[in-house]
């Protein structure tokens, strides 16, 4: 092969792309290794799993009211809510709507949750170890 053919625009670009592939693969593998190392100290946790206990008790209900004192505009809270929705689908979680028969009370302050339950005269059905309350509105 003639030198000028070998040094074509095409081969020049292929050489650059090959270098990018080598660089990217190396960096990627290093990043993956560090992600796996981090996972040893911070195991994977899906917040939706916290709501799994409620799943069997929804009894064909289409909606659950999801009552909370947390600010859903904060990403971490929005994530908790959407993961809860995913875990409980096909039941629909209605955010801060207490007009449904069944309600989940996901409060940072348990006293506030209990106060709301008393105010709405809710009947508590379940309480998870993480402080989630699952309640029913009597007569609805």
């Amino acid at each position: 092969m003639k030198f000028e053919n070998w040094l074509s625009r095409r081969n020049f670009m292929l050489a650059i792309i090959a270098a990018a592939v080598l660089y990217g693969t190396g960096c990627g593998l290093i990043e993956l290794c560090s992600m796996y190392a981090q996972r040893q100290t911070h195991p994977f946790f899906f917040e939706g799993d916290l709501f799994a206990g409620v799943k069997g008790a929804t009894g064909g209900e289409k909606y659950l009211g999801y009552m909370t004192d947390r600010d859903i505009n904060i990403d971490k809270i929005a994530m908790r809510f959407t993961q809860a929705q995913f875990a409980l689908a096909p039941v629909i979680l209605d955010f801060n709507n207490s007009n449904h028969r069944l309600l989940i009370l996901d409060f940072q302050d348990l006293k506030q949750a209990v106060a709301l339950a008393q105010k709405l005269q809710l009947k508590l059905l379940k309480r998870s170890p993480q402080g989630l309350l699952f309640a029913e509105r009597p007569g609805s």
Partner: protein, 441 residues
Amino acid sequence: MIYILPWLISILEGFLVLTVLIPKAVRPRMALLIFWGSLVGMATTALLTFTSLILFNKIVPAYAIGINIAALTGLFLLAKKNDLVLPFTKGSWDRIDLIGVHVLILFLIPVILHALLYPQGGWDAWSCWNLKAKFLFLGDEGWRGMLDPALWRSNTAYPFLLPLINVWYWCFGGEPVSTVTLATSCRITLVMAGILFFGLKELNNKISMLLAPLWALSIMFVVKLASSQYSDLLVGVWLLSALLSYKLFIERRSSAFLAVMLLSLGFMSFTKSEGLVLAMISLAVLGMTILLSAESREKALAAWKSLLLTSMPAFLPTIIFQLCWAPNSHTFINGLTAADHSALIPRLQSSLVFLAIELISPKWNAFWVIAAGGIILAGAKSFRRGLWVIPVILIAYIISVIGVYTINTFFPIIWWVSNTLNRILFALIPAVIFWAFTALL
């Protein structure tokens, strides 16, 4: 193990669809047919599963399995009449094909490893795509709950090809396991890489074309998004499929590739709203190009009509969804009709600045800079026959996206572009690589 069966049915179905559509004289090599067939098969099995919603207003697994097996049988009989060559017939794979498959599988390992770190996928996986899949599979007649306004955070107006692909697998196992959604994201990535390599090899029989998919798979940010169980890569692969079909149509002058192109655009339109916009733009640009270049306008129009009818099944889910089921978007405020338009110009400026920043962001490993360099270096070849449509489609799409960012004032612009623009660009990577490599051939 039960999930190997739907996977095999899906690949075979897609392979047979391509065999039936493309005459033997112009048919691509086996390796491309298998990877391309895998993509087409994902959509056809999902589409046939979709008919269960129309007939029974719910997903009936036995029906979905039955109709797919019936379709497979019918396609096999049709393919036999159309010179069917079985996938592992002697001589249908060359040495480069086999090396390519092994290297692609090797480069898929980081994608699988990253996917295993997040078995439930990224944010949109649990808040949108896999949520829709769960509603479809577990909801019975209540599957339309996924369109409920209370779920506005979950993109209720989005169509659901990816969820249906997963539901097809769940029909076999009987439960909505996350292993399936995780495996689907890895499978789509492998199919993208396979179509890219074997598609380019079909145009230029060189092993150096293997650099094309490896380039994409070597970018860690691409690996992260590809394994996130989102629909964006599906949009990208269908665009690649449409462009490859168009290029093969130009080279081989067979309308069979136009049919595959239209099928690709139809399936793309059911992936997500962005896919619908991209499909409509591609349909307009490619359609006009073909009509204008035809010797006889009347003949070309007649041919288009029959092709559109052939590919109608691929557009049908989108048409049904958009006409009958799609709820109004709860995340759209038309800034043009607002009394105060003062927000529009800053939104446009922010979008453009973010686009520029994104294109040179280190997370892409200089992908966009190198791709632009390759296209510029190829000079006029980048815009030769059959290739100039690619930049037209990409630019029109980016303009549409920037237009939506500007006009829809529902989301704060900085939050919106910083969270979504990278995925818009990610979906275009297969098409950009295809363009750069075909220009450099």
